[in-house]
């Protein structure tokens, strides 16, 4: 297992390098001119030339890429000309908050979807199954913003039960100090994720229930609770683990709509604004970060398989 992890980490480094290379090349192929975008249309040719010189934009692209990698290795993701701040500091202030929002919704979605999926499989074609399936389809087919706006309309505007915006604290801990403000944004994310996870969990559990080892366990006289807990749940989780691994990058940038609706400035919104305003280094920094997290998320999922299913050996 250790050897496998080391091997996968090596692969991850190569993939990440590929991600940086492709991203860097694509961003430099975009129409526009960084100096012009930063200095504005009133900038004189001398100012444009000076900016280009100072930032090495007149050097060959491979040299620029090498300089970018050098900075990256020193933990320097670049500088946002729109926000007048380093990309590192932008992400340092936003990522912990995103992790609270995305992380909580992921945890709640799992906590709800796993038992619901198992219960649906065990009581297949029953009232619970049909009801849960209906709710899942309804939530899954609804755009995230629609769920968010409906929740706000009913719980904030009509009945004034919960605030319409996420906690405005600039720290993750500060956000947790205002749990009421977290309810609606976390619920909006959770409902969609739950719908997806519960469907996969149900399907996986139904497959597992048909396996010989389940029948054998029951034949051995094992209680139904132990069958479900030891044999069904563990083996059914493999599919969900894959989903969780793929969902980890979304914790960073997948909350864009929720950020917009609930007044929650996060990395997703940052990325959108950077795209609209040609803030190249922010785009580059976040893309690289998401690439790295995606690779790591897959690695975590692969390790999770081996833990859940001892038959899997790398």
């Amino acid at each position: 297992m250790t050897g496998y992890i080391i091997r996968r980490l090596g692969e991850a480094i190569i993939v990440t390098l590929g991600v940086t290379m492709i991203t860097f090349a694509l961003l430099h192929l975009l129409p526009g001119n960084l100096a012009h975008d930063v200095l504005g249309p009133r900038a004189s040719p001398q100012e444009l030339a000076q900016f280009t010189q100072q930032n090495g934009l007149n050097r060959p692209i491979y040299v620029q890429y090498w300089l970018f990698l050098e900075k990256l290795l020193h933990g320097n993701l670049g500088y946002s000309y729109q926000y007048n701040r380093s990309v590192d500091s932008l992400l340092a202030s936003e990522l912990p908050r995103d992790l609270v929002l995305g992380g909580l919704s992921l945890i709640f979605a799992l906590l709800i979807a796993i038992p619901v999926g198992v219960a649906q499989a065990v009581r297949r074609n029953g009232v619970l199954d049909y009801t849960s399936t209906g709710v899942s389809f309804l939530l899954y087919s609804m755009p995230q913003y629609a769920i968010a706006l409906l929740l706000i309309q009913f719980l904030s505007i009509s009945f004034h039960v919960l605030p319409a915006e996420a906690p405005q604290s600039s720290s993750a801990l500060g956000m947790l100090a205002h749990p009421a403000g977290l309810v609606l944004p976390v619920a909006s994310l959770t409902l969609v994720t739950f719908a997806q996870f519960s469907r996969y969990m149900r399907s996986s559990a139904i497959d597992t229930l048909a396996q010989d080892y389940i029948r054998t366990a029951r034949a051995k006289g094992l209680s139904e609770r132990l069958v479900l807990w030891r044999h069904l749940l563990r083996n059914s989780l493999v599919t969900v683990v894959t989903l969780v691994g793929l969902s980890i990058p979304l914790v960073i940038t997948g909350t864009l709509i929720i950020e917009q609706v609930f007044n929650f400035p996060g990395a997703g919104l940052e990325y959108l604004q950077a795209t609209l305003s040609n803030d190249y280094e922010v785009m580059l920094g976040i893309t690289v970060l998401v690439g790295v997290v995606t690779v790591l998320g897959n690695l975590v999922a692969d390790i999770g398989y081996a833990i859940l299913d001892p038959r899997i050996r790398y």
């Binding site: 129409p31 526009g32 012009h36 975008d37 930063v38 200095l39 504005g40 249309p41 009133r42 900038a43 004189s44 100012e47 000309y81 729109q82 926000y83 007048n84 701040r85 500091s89 202030s93 706006l149 706000i152 904030s156 505007i157 004034h160 605030p163 319409a164 915006e165 405005q168 600039s170 950020e259 917009q260 609706v261 609930f262 007044n263 929650f264 400035p265 919104l269 604004q273 795209t275 609209l276 305003s277 040609n278 803030d279």
Partner: protein, 641 residues
């Protein structure tokens, strides 16, 4: 003057914020009266919108001392710069009007009570005195103090001028080559309360007062340094670096760098020295600014609220949700996005007054007169006049903008009214919607109009220079993506144009791309490929507040994006700056521009910031009046019980 933009800080332009009409009104076509509305539009009544609060609010109840005012920043438009000598890159209402001006007062204050006029009661400077055939301006300063105890003196203005005269002048948002500070021959501070400027020409005093002196801000000598480790300089501790050009440039570089560090603003020994009514108590990474009264403020009145909190928002939806769910207790003064205009009555019912103030701006989009393909057609005045007739502005305002905009037909804003500009200059006739008038103009200039087809030139001598026989009218109009109202307007324009055989190929790009694509160019340059660019907003007058055209329509002017060049317009622009009767000259200039249509005029949104539907003010907030130029006077505000 500044090109209007969306969302506070234009990434690529010298801009102020203005969402022009994000209204999500009917998706149906506008009036659709393709030929019959000419007469009606020609005699159109003046706009009913743009009626701001001309007097401070006086709610019933006992006046309270203290209380926190919560104010909405524009969506994703938090301040990102604090030094009042701002470059085009950081030239935004979020930085200027909503932050810097409340701490570092410009020499003169404009726009109170919804009039684009100077207000000497709120100004550091007394009324300027002109002499030497108006070449010399003498300004006496009122006795103000900085919060560090130093007096505000004419030396602080010399410091400002030294900085402007150094290389940073080209980075000043209001800089126009040949004008301020290039047209200042010399300046001096003969005594601490007197500042003297000598201009190179005998300019019109009103123009100087509104366009040139508006660019002056006293700055404290505590800023006259190149590092924070130096002791804070004062007027009596020896040599100050700004007195040489290189020294001033070095000081500017240092201050510019410090101004880009929002994390240190609230604690910096630089930015805590203020002469305005407020100082910054805190500023979060998300953009929440908390301002508290400056106890040493010399002006009048003194602030009675205990705090002003400027709240950042990620979207227009978030602003609206917060308004509806929490109401005046959480947002005291809020700019309502245009798309929520239909909700104004519901918001008034929960405790708001709607202030329908317009900013002193006008909306337009440029045609590229130097484009090698269609430039010769765009250069013909009759074509621009015909094209202007195809914009159904009043229909758009009804159908797409929920009555939150004003028909526009010239560079002089219709609202707010100004005593500096004659109402006679405001005529909508040249811009009246009429496809028949457009068709007639084209036909009478040698074009064979083919409704629904392609109109072609049949008589090149009448069509104009550079237009060949058989040539059709077809061009690309690129507009800002993501704004429903602009999309509806452009679709309607393309449909109306097709009725007279003009083929418009519509394309969309993000705001930043559109605004930076529209640049002045020569036909041979690669940057001259653009044909028409509509960024959905236009132009706001500031920090030069007189609606003159030296930045917009003079040849070579920084914002003459379409490369318009007309001798009569240029002459009138020049005359306004030196005229003895600026009202008469401005009237002539406004009429000239309306007739000659150097750009395509389109409805100007009301709303002080971002082209909002209006500003919602809590009904228990007193002392609030609209400012014609979007400045803020929270020192006037108070709560009532």
């Amino acid at each position: 003057m500044q090109k209007l933009a969306r969302h506070g800080v234009a990434a690529s332009a010298a801009v102020l914020v203005m969402v022009l009409a994000a209204a999500c009104g009917s998706s149906s076509s506008s009036s659709g009266n393709s030929s019959g509305s000419s007469a009606a539009s020609a005699s159109a009544s003046l706009p009913t919108n743009g009626a701001g609060l001309t007097q401070p609010t006086t709610p019933a109840g006992t006046r309270l001392s203290g209380g926190t005012v919560f104010f909405t920043e524009g969506p994703d438009a938090a301040p990102n710069y604090i030094f009042p000598m701002y470059s085009p890159q950081v030239c935004s209402t979020a930085n200027n009007n909503q932050l810097e001006y409340m701490m570092y007062r410009p020499l003169y204050w404009y726009g109170n009570n919804y009039r684009p006029n100077i207000d000497y009661d709120y100004s550091i400077g007394e009324q300027p005195q002109f002499s030497d055939g108006n070449k010399t301006v003498t300004i006496k300063l009122n006795s103000w103090k900085w919060s560090n105890g130093e007096p505000v003196t004419s030396r602080d203005l010399v410091f400002w001028m030294n900085m402007m005269k150094a290389s940073p002048a080209t980075e000043w948002c209001g800089y126009v080559p040949g004008y301020f500070p290039d047209n200042v021959a010399s300046y001096s501070a003969p005594d601490p309360q007197t500042f003297v400027l000598h201009f190179t020409k005998d300019y019109n005093p009103t123009w100087v007062t509104y366009d040139e002196l508006s660019q002056l801000t006293p700055i404290p000598l505590a800023w006259d340094r190149t590092s924070l480790s130096q002791p804070a300089p004062t007027s009596d501790n020896g040599h100050l670096p700004d007195t040489t050009k290189a020294g001033a440039a070095a000081v500017y570089k240092f201050l510019d760098g410090e101004a880009k560090k929002p994390g240190s603003w609230a604690t910096s020994p630089l930015w805590q020295v203020v002469d305005g009514p407020f100082h910054l108590q805190s500023f979060t990474t998300a953009g929440e600014a908390t301002l508290v009264p400056n106890p040493d403020y010399s002006g009048s009145p003194k602030a009675t609220i205990s705090k002003l909190v400027e709240l950042p928002f990620t979207s227009e939806t978030a602003i609206y949700n917060q308004l509806r769910s929490a109401g005046p207790s959480s947002l005291t003064v809020a700019n309502l996005p245009s798309q929520y205009a239909p909700q104004i009555s519901a918001l008034e019912a929960i405790g708001y007054t709607d202030n329908k103030a317009a900013s002193y701006s006008f909306n337009y989009f440029p045609l590229n007169l130097h484009n090698p393909k269609v430039g010769p057609i765009f250069s013909q005045m009759y074509f621009r006049q015909a094209f202007q007739h195809l914009l159904d502005q009043q229909g758009w305002i009804k159908a797409f903008l929920t009555d939150t905009a004003i028909p526009t037909c010239g560079p002089v804003p219709d609202a707010p009214p100004s005593s500096l500009v004659s109402a006679a200059s405001i005529s909508f006739t040249p811009c009246a919607f009429s496809t028949s008038a457009a068709q007639q103009l084209l036909s009478s200039h040698g074009w064979k109009v083919v409704p629904g087809g392609t109109t072609t030139c049949q008589n090149p001598s009448l069509c104009g220079a550079g237009i060949t026989q058989g040539e059709g009218i077809s061009f690309t109009l690129d507009y800002e993506s993501g704004v429903v109202s602009v999309q509806n307007e452009m679709n309607d324009l393309a449909a109306q144009a097709k009725k007279v055989g003009i083929n418009i190929n519509l394309t969309t790009h993000p705001f930043g791309t559109v605004i930076s694509t529209a640049v002045a160019c020569q036909p041979s340059q690669p940057t001259c490929k653009w044909q028409a660019e509509n960024w959905g907003a236009g132009w706001i007058y500031g920090p030069s507040y007189l609606p003159t055209g030296e930045q917009l329509f003079a040849p070579g002017a920084v914002a003459n994006y379409g490369s318009y060049n007309d001798a009569s317009t240029t002459q009138l622009i020049s005359e306004v700056t030196v005229a003895s009767n600026e009202t008469q000259e401005l009237d002539a200039y406004a009429q000239n521009v309306s007739q000659r249509v150097p750009v395509v005029f389109q409805p100007t949104s009301i709303g002080t910031y971002q082209g909002d539907a209006g500003t919602l003010v809590a009904k228990n907030l007193g002392g609030y009046a609209a400012n014609a130029l979007g400045l803020m006077n929270p020192e006037d505000w108070y709560f009532t019980r």
